[in-house]
């Protein structure tokens, strides 16, 4: 598969799995059955984890949460293409990617439950914590790729962001820097159709976001974002380009945010349910289940068993996250600097004294 076969300026979009779950035999990557089933397992895990977060939030046991429902495929597929040494720079809706990369479920829960412990992701996983200021983290990815390049290492950086993020100046600067330096980074846009209430069409007048690549001197490719194989192929190809010194790639994965923007959001205020229902038919889990079925790799019993074991893992992690000790007052200060400066030490005592007094 070549990126240039899918020139977005020609209106091409990479798709391996049709909405009916039929795979393009020329493009289908060579995965064994076990791997093909594992992909389903991941998609399902993402879906269940997401639902659990939503449920916990409604019970007041978890804070504002940004659900990933509908976008699982492009996250699963792209993470699958990563090598161990590659770095992932997520935005805030990459729960599925985090799970695939091995970030402990408990840690993910703790983030959304409102604890800094949820950003304490072991460095070895090479998965950065959530980044809330939209678009700002794309620059970090560019800089990390420049660092890798400088050190002469073979790793690459995969950076996720949304369609809305492409409007931010930082996104532009990230692509500009990465393009000029031919840095080993893959810019992965999950165009889920919406930035809160703003539809893609009001975000940017360009026919496709992938077309933006040409303005930075590197290729852009649009893919079906509900197709894990398309995401896998495009990311793999882009990572190869990155590693071989050919520079960045912009991937636009066209997917759909089936849920609300976050648990604080009511999408009925700005979009028709009919649209959501239409898109639900195209969603990745349904499609991938069809695909497995057609290959004889799926049974209801198998899925139920999988779901049950996933659910148990999820609930166990949630329990551990909930029963973790609350933050100490000291923790407000102690990680601010490598060594605590005098004025912070004083403020810390002030707080401790106040708490002691009761």
């Amino acid at each position: 598969m070549k990126i240039s076969d899918c020139d977005p300026l020609q209106g091409r979009r990479l798709q391996v799995l049709s909405p009916e779950g039929k795979a393009d035999p020329e493009l289908l990557p060579e995965f064994d059955d076990e791997s093909l089933r594992r992909i389903f397992g991941q998609l399902l895990m993402g879906r269940l984890f997401d639902r659990h977060c939503m449920a916990l939030q409604r019970e007041g046991r978890l804070g504002t949460y940004a659900p990933v429902e509908g976008q699982e495929a492009c996250q699963v597929g792209s993470v699958l293409a990563l090598a161990k040494g590659d770095w992932v720079v997520p935005s805030f809706r990459e729960t599925m990617a985090a799970i695939c990369r091995g970030v402990p479920l408990e840690t993910i829960f703790r983030y959304w439950m409102g604890s800094e412990e949820g950003s304490r992701i072991p460095r070895e996983l090479r998965f950065l914590p959530v980044s809330i200021p939209v678009g700002s983290h794309t620059l970090h990815a560019a800089g990390m790729a420049m660092a890798i390049q400088y050190k002469g290492e073979a790793d690459a950086v995969l950076c996720y962001f949304g369609d809305g993020a492409t409007s931010e100046g930082d996104f532009h600067e990230a692509l500009t820097f990465a393009g000029v330096r031919r840095a080993p980074v893959v810019f992965f846009c999950q165009n889920n159709g919406w930035a809160i209430s703003v539809p893609r069409s009001k975000q940017c007048a360009a026919a496709s976001l992938a077309a933006k690549g040409v303005g930075y001197g590197f290729p852009g490719i649009q893919i079906d974002g509900n197709d894990p194989f398309a995401a896998y192929l495009a990311t793999r190809t882009a990572l190869e380009r990155a590693r071989s010194g050919e520079g960045p790639t912009l991937i636009e994965a066209v997917t759909y945010r089936l849920g609300p923007h976050t648990t604080s959001d009511d999408p009925l205020r700005y979009r028709e349910n009919a649209e959501v229902e239409k898109m639900r038919a195209l969603e990745p889990l349904v499609r991938y289940r069809q695909f497995l079925k057609q290959r004889g790799l799926w049974s209801e019993a198998w899925e139920n068993e999988l779901a049950a074991s996933h659910q148990a893992r999820i609930e166990d992690a949630a329990r551990r996250a909930e029963s973790a000790p609350p933050p100490t007052p000291e923790s407000v200060f102690d990680s601010m600097f490598a060594a605590l400066p005098a004025h912070l030490a004083r403020q810390r005592s002030e707080l401790l004294d106040a708490l002691k007094e009761g």
Binding site: G63, G114, S331
Partner: protein
Amino acid sequence: MAQMNMVEAINLALREEMERDPDVILLGEDVGKEGGVFRVTEGLQQRFGENRSIDTPLAESGIVGCAFGMALLGLKPVAEIQFMGFLYPAYDQIISHVGRIRNRTRGVYSAPMVIRMPYGGGIHAPEHHSESTEALLAHTPGIKVVIPSSPADARGLLKSAIRDPDPVLFLEPKRIYRAIKEEVPEGEVLVPLGKARRVREGGDLTLVAWGAMVREAQKAAEELAGQGIEAEIIDPRSISPLDEAAIVESVKKTGRCVVVHEAPRTCGLGAEISALLMEQALLYLKAPVERVSGFDTVMPLPKGEHFYLPDLRRILRGARKVLEF
């Protein structure tokens, strides 16, 4: 007159001003169809159309820079930044252009615009959603900065801000968006910019607080009153320009002052108020002006938020400190 919370009062002010003046125009992320993530601009696009309540692309410098361009041509844009934590990408536009244009062109151009945003902590919001960096703005020449602490003030101040010939940053303490209901007048009842409000009278010490901290100061004052200590509460309402006279006058009377704010302490507005009292009231001070504030740390995530924000306990401690000095 009707009972309203602050969200409703701000919405009312916007609607009234948009009705009064066709040059008043809203723009920002999600302000239109959705009516804002806090519903502050609810119904205004439906009422005034898509051209007067513009859902913009997701780019804060873009919002402020475009609003500035509109203001140059005589419109009166009211831009919304979704949370104060996302104002920073637009800070260059504010300090380099919005606050300068009148002075640098000797008045040929000006920027009659408002930049509104939810402000402050206390609602268990996600990272970056609880910022209170008003001191950056107070340090920025050429702009005015307003922070209401009640629905009626919010309406009256916002109307003044929209009519002001100069740019006004309007910070809305989201913690009390829906927490306080009061009678809010309609019609031409404006609250002047640059004038403080004496929220409570008292002779024993002065509490200076703004935004959501006014309510905390009120709780402290009630507690103190129970102990026979009468606290005066001054809410500057405009932090730039600051009603120095009102603060100085009160502290000359009481001799004791506690400034309460959510922002980090160092170089916060509390420092400025302390320095003003140093300059204008030193001889009347019976104790050092005390700052009860956020710490010079990152605002903790929700589970640690209560450690960070000044609360009754910490304000009372500050009061005791100045009373027992």
